[in-house]
Every structure is written in C-alpha cells, then in structure tokens.
Symmetry: C5
Subunit: 321 residues, 5 copies
C-alpha cells in the first residue's frame, strides 16, 4: 500500500495515494512523504528504484532482518531503523525494519507492517514536520517510536522491582525462569539500542548532506540521541540488575539449603543412636543381661535422655541450632 502526504508551495496539505507523486514532481516548491507499508516487495522495489533510490539501499531496505544502519547515497541519506511491531511490559517484542530515504524535497518510508509512530504522524500532525523539512519528519518518527520503547522499559522497571521482592522472599522456579527470559530479551534490546545510538552519534557530526550542522536541527538530533542513549543505558542497567538478582538468588538458596541440611543432620544425629539402642535391646539373644536388670527399661530411657540432651547441647555450641 502506498500513501502520500503532500505539502505544496503555499503550505496546503493533501493526503492521498500514488497519484500525488507526479504532482509533486511538477511543483518544485512542494514536499512529499511517501509511505510504503505492507506491499509486495517486488512492486516496492520497482517504486523505490523509480523514485531514484540507490539499488544497494533498496536491497537493504527490503531485507527482513538487518541491523540498523546509516549510509550516505547521492540523492538520499539512507537510515535503516528498527521499529516496533509489537511490545509488552514483559519485554516481549517483535521488531520490524523501517527504512528512511531522506531526500531534499521528499521522505520515503518503507516498513512491512503497520507502525504506531508512523500512523500517528500520518493521521495527525505530520504536515507540520514535513513543512519544516523531510529531515525533521524522519527524526520525529524515530522520536515517537523511541518514546514507545521508553514507556515500555519504564513499565518494566516496576515489574522488575516486584520480581526482586518476590525472589528475595522465597522465590520459586517460575520467578527464575521469568528472570532468564528478561535477561535474554534485554541483551537483544541493548544490542539494538546500541545501533540506534550509533546512528544519532554519527548524525551529530554533521557530515551527512541531509543533516547539516544547523542550530534548529542540532537540538532535535540531540533530543533523539538522548532518548536512544537513555534506552541503551536503561537496558544495560536492567540487564545488570537481573544478573545481580540471579547471583543473589543462588546465594540465598545456598544458604537456605545449608539451613535445611542442618535440620536434617540434627534430627538424624539425635535419633539414629537412640534407634540403634532400641534395636539392640530388641534382639532375641538368649542371654542379654541388661534385659533382666530391674527397671532396666527406665535406666535405658534415662541414658537416652542424657544422650539427647548432650547432643542438643553440642549442636547449640556449634551454632547449628
């Protein structure tokens, strides 16, 4: 599906389809945002090439998986961004590549599925940003997208804090499994945010034609970079917190195991000798003199009591009880 948002020389804005491209080409004062979403890859390739995009960039734009990147081409600055197809509080996420071709008078975006940041800008205030320049529109889309990532990461913070409390107050396997899953997702997020951060880092240097060193632009890029940097820094911090929790949990479990084993050992150590004595006097030998002693049973009970008390006293002294 191709949809377009065209702003003409007088600032009038029209939303439409493929047909607006010709109008835009005729009017050198107009600007256009061409959004390709969920179309047939081969048709999209034709469209992009017809619009003058470099074949190597088009190839990258149409790949299903490719890390985010930034590359300069004759008429366009090409940005491959990792947008959000799905994301929830538990950090389950599914990304999608969003390709930006940032040209002088046009912005071309291409993505396989619907993207919330693009939807919002297309239906609401995209024209204001396009009027300022295609560069501003591209940066705005990424800014909105990064904001969605940020909301989800901050929601995750609360979840992680709860998990910490649960784990430390006698966690179970399920909590550990969640933690492992979070770590695995955070590693992947951190890697992606790192790529994004590198993109704005390079844009700040002002060496890309569509991103010259201008004051108005530089604040917007800095803002976006701060957001990417914060995402990376949060992902890294949450990853470390998860790792520390795993270590802590091992440590607490070891300690509890030790306590458990002491209980077992104490019980065994007290009753096993007593049971042995009972077994001894349950034997059927013809001649066991103790069995004939008057009050032998009560004497044995006394011996057993003394033995128990001695053992308990010993364990107390060893600080096992």
């Amino acid at each position: 599906m191709i949809r377009t948002l065209r702003v003409d020389g007088r600032g009038e804005c029209t939303r439409g389809g493929e047909e607006q491209i010709a109008l835009w080409q005729q009017d050198s004062d107009s600007r256009i945002w061409i959004d390709l979403c969920g179309g047939d890859p081969q048709a999209e390739e034709q469209t992009l090439l017809a619009l003058g995009c470099h074949p190597l960039a088009v190839k990258d734009a149409l790949r299903e998986r490719h890390p985010p990147k930034l590359e300069e081409f004759p008429d366009f600055t090409f940005i491959l961004y990792r947008g959000i197809a799905h994301f929830d509080d538990e950090l389950n996420h599914q990304g999608q590549p969003i390709a930006f071709f940032v040209g002088q008078r046009c912005l071309i975006t291409r993505h396989p599925q619907s993207a919330r940041s693009i939807e919002r800008l297309y239906s609401e205030d995209g024209e204001h940003f396009l009027a300022k320049g295609s560069t501003f529109l591209a940066l705005r889309i990424m800014h909105l997208s990064a904001g969605i990532y940020l909301d989800n990461l901050l929601a995750f913070e609360a979840l992680l804090s709860d998990l910490e409390d649960n784990l430390l107050q006698g966690g179970n396997d399920q909590h550990m499994r969640e933690l492992v899953a979070y770590r695995s997702r955070l590693v992947k997020l951190r890697r992606m945010f790192n790529y994004h951060k590198n993109i704005t880092d390079e844009l700040r240097a002002g060496e890309y034609q569509m991103f010259p060193e201008e004051e108005s632009l530089s604040h917007v890029i800095t803002d976006l970079h701060d957001r990417f940097e914060r995402l990376h820094s949060l992902a890294q911090m949450f990853y470390e917190l998860c790792g520390d929790l795993v270590d802590a949990y091992i440590s607490i479990t070891s300690h509890q195991l030790n306590s458990t084993m002491r209980v077992l050992t104490v019980i065994t150590a007290i009753f096993v000798p007593l049971s042995f004595l009972a077994g001894l006097y349950g034997m059927n030998f013809d001649y066991i003199p103790e069995l004939k002693i008057e009050n032998g049973y009560f004497i044995l009970l006394g011996v057993m009591g003394v033995l128990s008390v001695a053992l308990i006293w010993m364990f107390r002294r060893m600080r096992w009880l």
Copy 2:
C-alpha cells in the same frame, strides 16, 4: 512558589518574590537568582517561557524523570541535574530533577521539592556567589549537593564494612537481602553519577558560552568534577565490593554445607550398619544359631565396636573427621 535573590549594581542584596524580576530587568547592572520550587507546572512553564527560556529546554525542565543533561541554547546554558529529595545511610534515595538556566545576568533554578543545597545557599551566602556570576552560583549549588551525596556514601562505607564482618562470621538471609538491595541502589547511583561526570567533563572543554575558559572558573569546575568523579568511583567500588561479598558468601556457604554433609554422612555410615546388625538378630526365625551361642550378645557388641572403630579410622584417613 517563586522566590528571588537580587544583587544590584552596588552589590546590595535583596530577597523577595516574583516582583523583583521587573526591577532586575530595568537595571542592567543587577543580577538575579530566580528559584521556582513546587509550583504548578503549567504556571512554571509560562514563567520560564516569559523569561526567554527555549521551549525545548522548558519541556525537559518540567519532566518528572529525565537523565541529567547539558545543552546550549541561545541565551542560556541549560543543565538538568539530579538533586536529592531524600537520602539515608542505607543508600535509600529519592531524587528530583533540578533544572538550571544559566544566563548572563540571571540564574533560574526549578525543582519540584525542597532541596537542601538550594535552601542553604538561598538563606545563607548565595549572594556572594551570585555577585561573582550566575555561573558560580549554579556550580556552587551542585557542589553542595554533591557534598551531601558524598557524606552519605562515606557513611555507607562503615555500614558495608560491618556487613562484611557479619556475613563472614555466619551471616543469615537478612544480610544477603540487604546486600542485594544495596547493589541495586548502587547501580542506579552509579548511572546517575556517570551522567553528572559527563556534564562537568563537557563544561571543562570550555565550549559553552556561560562556561568560558577562565582560570577562576576552571578551578571551580575542576573541583566539582573531582567530586562527581569521586562519587562515581566510590559507587563503582562499593558495587564491586558488594558483588565480591556475594561471591564470597556463596563460597563460604558451599564449604559449610560440605562440612554439614560430612557430619551427616559419618553418623549415617557408622550407625546404619550397626542398626542393621541389631535388626538382624531381632528377627523371629525359629532357628538362628548365633542367638544360642554363649555370650553371643557380647561377641556381637565386640564386632560392633570393631566395626565402628574401623569406620572412624577410615573417615580419619579420608580427612572427613
């Protein structure tokens, strides 16, 4: 709440409210410190914009959560600092954003809650620093704030040292839980201090209009940077020490568990065969020749004694006893 501290051309200092702003605007030799604390965000936004602050900076200043940052704007250098709303020895802390708009003749600070460093300077010697320049006042506020952080971290050092002693002399779960909580807080502090350190690192380069390369200023910035660097370095060190303690505790617990298990094993290994023998001669078979042997009972006791001694000797040789 808006309060102001104005120093006029002759060095006279007046404390007051919003009304002093007009006086300051009329007298081009005067300087002013405008402090916005705990007011209505929308009203504060209006005030800041009216004072000529850049909309993007105002937006950042009013956010509830944003990492510390430094950014140059036409009339102001904007610093977002993470001040202290609450902090105790156990590193429980709650931060609050303190926004600084550092201009030629004025310093605007904005923060949602009362801040000790700002209170002290407003009520005591803020005018001396304002007289030297708004830059000096801003740096002084951060310097005092960093000093409070530092006092708390150094107080924590003693606490950590006690915890180390406790853990190594038979710690319990509660100690481990404390340690985990400290690590989690230290990770967050370290991240914040890192942002602060980056701010003074950039200020030292002398590329910000309000922080030119002058000798008097450079010593003050270096002093503040040393403090931030020290905070970061201490947080990092305490974090590593906590992690090492977790590792050490796992190791000691493993060793104790091993000792416990050896006791259990030795007791079991000695008594179980003896009990088996007793059980054997407690059976009711019609014909068990040993039961008829003269002194059979005493012979069995002898066999049991020999067996015990042999087992104990064996465990000694295995260094289990």
Copy 3:
C-alpha cells in the same frame, strides 16, 4: 591446481589454466583472476614469487594457521582471510586461510581446500566483478563467505532458543555439555570475526593503494564491514546468552536441590521419631509397663498421629510444605 579467469580489453571472458597468465601479461588491457587451490605448497610458492608477490606475504599465505591480517606491499595489497572449510548449525566449524593478493590488473587467491564462495564466483558471475576491478572481485568473495557464516549463525539462533526452553524445563547434563561446547566455539568465532572487522575498518580509511576512497568502492566496503560487524555482534550476543543460561541453570538447579532436600528432610523428620518409638516398644526388657496397659497399642498410635500432625503443621508454618 591453478585455474584462471581472464577478461580481455573488449570484455570477453575466458576460463582456463596456467597458460592464460602469459596471454594476460602480453595484453595490458586485460585482467586476470588466478586461483590456486589445494596444490603443492612449494610449487605454489614458486608460482606466487614468479608473479611478483613479496616473499613475506607469500610466507604468510602458505602458513597453515595464521590470524586474518591486512598488509600493504609494493604491487599488491595482501589480505589473509579465514574462509570456511566446514560449518554446521551447531557451530562446529573448520576454517581455512584464504590469501588474496589484490593487484592493479590481477587478483590471486590461494587456499588449501575448496571454498564455496570461490566456487560460486568462478563458475557463475566472477567475470562481472573482475571487469569492475580485482578489488571488487576480492570483496565479493569475502562478502559471499561472510553470508555463509551469517546463515549458519542465524540457524544457530533457533537452536539456542530451543536449548533455552529445554534447559529451563528440567534440563539434563547433555544440554549443559552442548552449551559448554557452543560457548567454546563462539569464543573462537568471535575472535576471528574481530580480526575480519579490523580488516574492513582499516580498508575504510582509504590508505591502501588498491582500496582508494571512491564512492562506488566505499559502499561495497561498508556493506562488507556491516556484515563482519554483525557477525561479531551476533557471536558476542550468543556467547553472552550462553553464559547467562549457565548462570540461570546453576540457579534453578540450586533451587530444585533445595526443594528435594526439603522433601527428604520432612520425610525423615516425620518417620524417624515414629520409628524410634516403635523400636522402643519392640525391646525385650522384662518389665516395660506401657506394654501391659490396656489399649496401650492404640494409645501409642494416637500419640504417633498427634506427633505427625504437629510436625506437619510445623513444617507448614516454616513454609517447607
């Protein structure tokens, strides 16, 4: 075995053997790709020296093991690349050194075994790249080879994800052994990819004669570098994920061990005192008054029941059951 692919001044392409070298030397408009594969090292050394390769480069090219490297020589840029002799989804891999001598009008490749990337280019579209320049052909070979690495790494991702699920749902030793083997292989891959990344990093600087700063070339080098960087980043990420799984597995196992021990302790703690009581009344003392009490047996059963319930209630309160 020596085989050659020659493109003459009119763009005609001929595949052949050693005999084409003389033809190429006579026609200064022609270009040639000389591929030495699996021949006798001494003969290959002679051939390479005869073609004007530097003795130090030839020595490196013929080594069985040498890390990838890039070095400038008078007539050639020498690249030692680690190609693939064998690779499977489980990351079992066996490399082989592929030496590239990139000259003005010729590319010489040397490798001990057959290499898929070279086979494909020699039999299919090598002439197109050779026509653009020997540099392009060399980069293309590495690009194809890196693509094979990438396919295998991405196939491994699925395998790792399965392993994660298996491990967390009650893994066994076999899973752990696999994980250890993967980590060991990933460390080696990561090291190799790091060397490759460094090669393209240096090529990008444009300081090598055969790799000047030209736009067409720079996109191709960037593309190859992106691939190497991605391989390195994936290997690093998989390595970290494997390490996190080991930690997680230790943690889960500790927890399960603790649960197991509690079951053991509870059973022991309940039955051992009961068995002791039974043993006590199995003794053959002449006078044990309880044995004579009417319904003594049932009273004892009642005492045992009460004891069991009390112990179970106690373990419940300790959250062991």
Copy 4:
C-alpha cells in the same frame, strides 16, 4: 612541625626550621624544601597561605580524605598524593594524603603523619635532588614511596601463592575469609594506583609549568609512571587471581559435596532395604510362614547378600563407586 632543607647559590646545604624561610626569600639563587608534618591544621593553613599557595589548593591539602589529584595554580603545581602511613604483607594499609606544592625555587610538602620516603630523603640525599630542581625532589619522594608499595605487593605475591596451594588442598573457611579481605583491600589499592597513574600520565604531556618537556625530566617521569603503572597492573592481576580462586574453590567444594553425597546415598541405598527385610521378619504376626522354613535365616542372609552385590554392581555401572 616545620623543618626545612635549604640549598644556597653555591650548593651549600643547611637543615633547619622555620627560620630558614626568610633566608631563602632573600637569596634568589637558593632553593628550599619546606616540610610540614603533623602540625596543627589551622597553623599549617596560615603558613601555606603566607607562602603564596592558592586557598583552594590549601583546602584540598588539609582534607583528611581526598583522592589523589593534580592541578595547576599560578605559582605552584599542586599534587595530592596518597602516601603510606602503614602497610604490611597482608595488604593491610592505612594511607595519608601528602600534598606537594611544586614551585620554581621551593617545594612544600604537607602530611599529617611521618612518611618513610620523606624521612629518608630529608635525612639522606634530599639536597642532591633539590639542587637539580624542586620538581626532581617531588618526583623522587613519590618514587621512593611507590617503591615501598611495590615491595609490599611483591611480598604479597608469595603469600597469595601459598594461599592458592592451601585452598586447593582442602581449604577451610579461614582461608576464604582471608581471600575476601585481600580482594577488598586490592580493590581499594587499585583505585588509588589508578589515580596515581593518571597523575603521571598528565605530567608526561608536558602541559604543567613545573614539568616542562625536557629530556632529563622526561626519563624521571617515565620511570615514576612505569612504577605506578606496574602497581596498578599488579593490583589488578592479584585481584583477578583472588576472584579466580573464589570461583575455583566454589567449584572444588561443589565437587567434593557431590562425592560426599554419593557415599551417603550408596550407604543408605544398600542398608535401608536390608534393614527393612530384617524389620519385616522381626514382626510378631502369629503366622509368618518364612520364619518356619528350615534354614529360613540362612536363605534370607543369602538373599541379602545377593541384593547387596546387585546394588554395588549397579552403583559401579553408574560410576558412583
């Protein structure tokens, strides 16, 4: 206490007290070393200010705790160094700040307690270094101090090697506690050495007035830097070795625990079924036919023997024995 070492224009050296300062101020060819040790801080502050030291530097010099630093002031280069008040082989150490004010014709040192490096230079060959320049004297003091650190660290190496042997041949808790204490001390030393290393790193750049880029000076600074770098590198290495030992000890303990548990399990697994059989035939049922069988007792003994052998054979096959 103030003591001075003055070298006049003809190279004559006099040791004395405060009174020499006036003599030095009169003779512009003379040089002086003023050492303030263990005096009253307020008096020292007055002295330092009177000698022309910058108030900010004096403040830092008199602090009880401050990380090492290097700062340029109008007449002095200020170095805050962490000297040794006490140090032993077990890395117990107590530092003290030594402040250096390095001026054109004078060196002022200030420290709260006696310092071995300063004692040695004051009483022995301090005048030779002062004659070459106050810079050389300051560097020499730090060089001697670093040498003392180095001797202690190298003595610790032997101690660590012994600890490694002890731990691996069945360590005890005491060894682990020592290791933990060493790690904690090494972390603190490493941090301090890092600050020292940074000081000489900056001095090497030749941007400090008192440390210009001259050949004779540059060798001395390099020598000192090598020493600091070596201290840092050794502290880091020992720290890693200690950490590896903790990991190794956990691993060995786990393995030993496993062996212990196998012994316990084997004993239990063999005797528990046998004891059950014995208990079975110790029951007092009116009719238990086996008890009447001729040689029933010996048949049971045979069954028990076969059972034992079978279990032992099974454990052998499982490699538990």
Copy 5:
C-alpha cells in the same frame, strides 16, 4: 660472559669475545653484536656504561624483575623484553629479562641466563641480520622468542581441549586443580604479552630514532607485532575458555548433585514408611489385634506393595524418576 659477533665493512663476519670491541670502534664501517650473558652484574654495569649506555637504562637492564618497556635514550633505543628461561606445555614458565640497547652500529643484549633465541642466532645466521642493521637483529631475536612462546601456547590448546572433554565426562578434583593453575599462569602470560604488544605498537609509530618509518623495517615490525598480538589474543581466549569451563563444571556438578539427592530421597521416601510399619508390628504390646488376623502378614505385605507403587507413581509424576 661476553661474546661478540662483528661484521666488518666488506661483510666478513667474526665471532669472538671482548677483544673485538676495540676493533669495531676503530672501523666505522663495521657493526657489532655484544651479548652479555650470566656475568657478574657489577662488571656488566661497568661494561655497559663504558659502551655509552645511559645510567638509567643500565639500572633497568640489570634489575631481576621489571615489566617489559621501551625508552628512547641519546645514542640507544632501549628495549626491555621478557624472554624465556623455561617453558613447558602446561604453561609452567619462568621468564628472564632480556635488555636490548639498539645503537646505530651496534646491538648490545644482556640477560642473566641462556636464551634459546639468542643461542640460535649467535650460532647460526645472526650475521645476515646484523649486516642489514642492528635493528633487524634485535627484532629477529624477539621474533624467534615469540615463536617459541607461540609453539607452547598452541601445544597447550590440545591439552586444554582434552581437559575440556575429561571435565565434562565426570571430572575429578585433579582436573579442577589443573584448570586453576592454568588460569593463574595465563593471567600472568597475558599481562606480559600485553606489555610486549605495547612495545611494537609504539615502534610502529616511527618515533624512535633506531626504528624510522621505512618500508623494509615496517614489514618486519608488523610481523613481530602480529605475533605479539596473537599471543595476547590466544592467552586471553584460553583464559576465558578456562573460566567458562569452571562455570560449566560448577553447573554440571550442581546438576549431578541434584540427581544424586533425588535417588537418595526416593530410596528414603519408599523404605522409611515401610520400615516404620514393620517396626510397628515388631512391638511387644500385649494386645495388637492386627497380629491375630488371619493372613495379617500377607495383608500387610499387600499394603506395603500398594504403598510402594503409589510412591513410585508419585515420583514418576514429579519427574524424579
């Protein structure tokens, strides 16, 4: 012992002792290699100073322990290299400092014990390298020495691979102790290789008088640097592999312990209740009605059978069997 290798203006080579130094000093076209091995330190100091070596360099050259370094002096470039006194496959190694004074027409080497690389060059083809320049000879000695390190590290790789297999198929304490020893040795090797790598890194910059930026020299330095870099990278990789093995071994041992404990628990859980029942009916109460029931014994056996089956079924469902 002093031995010399002199090459005169016509390329004639003579091996001899101290007496050749005078001949070399007279003939300004000749070059000399002076090797000091295992002599008296004081005599060596005199010799070195007489040859014009800088006192600071001589001091470093004669130290027993000093990390490798590179320093420029008026007439010599001074290199302190860590050579091999002893090295075996298990990474047991003992180093020795080899000092190089690289001058225009002479190379002086000094080392306390015999060094294989020096022996080989002195007895075989040292003259070829000396003829090219003392720089080439010095680099060649280090190249040979690094080659010996490399052979040993690669031999260790096979050993480590065997250890990995052994550990994963039920290792024992001895294997763990070996691993710990290897890690400790690798840490020390890695540190040393890092210093060596830094030396060639600096040499490559071409800022040392005896190592100017010439093509022939630059290839030789690059070759040596590649070797040092490879040694460092291998030591680092082996260290990480050893650490991963320790982690893996802990993990596998934990899992095996868990299995062991399950066996123990299952046996205990099945037999303890049965034994209790047997004990119950072994009591000597006057009135136990069950004992009188016809076939009471067989009914009890049936109950015991049902109980066992139920417990086994339960453990199956819990996946413990």
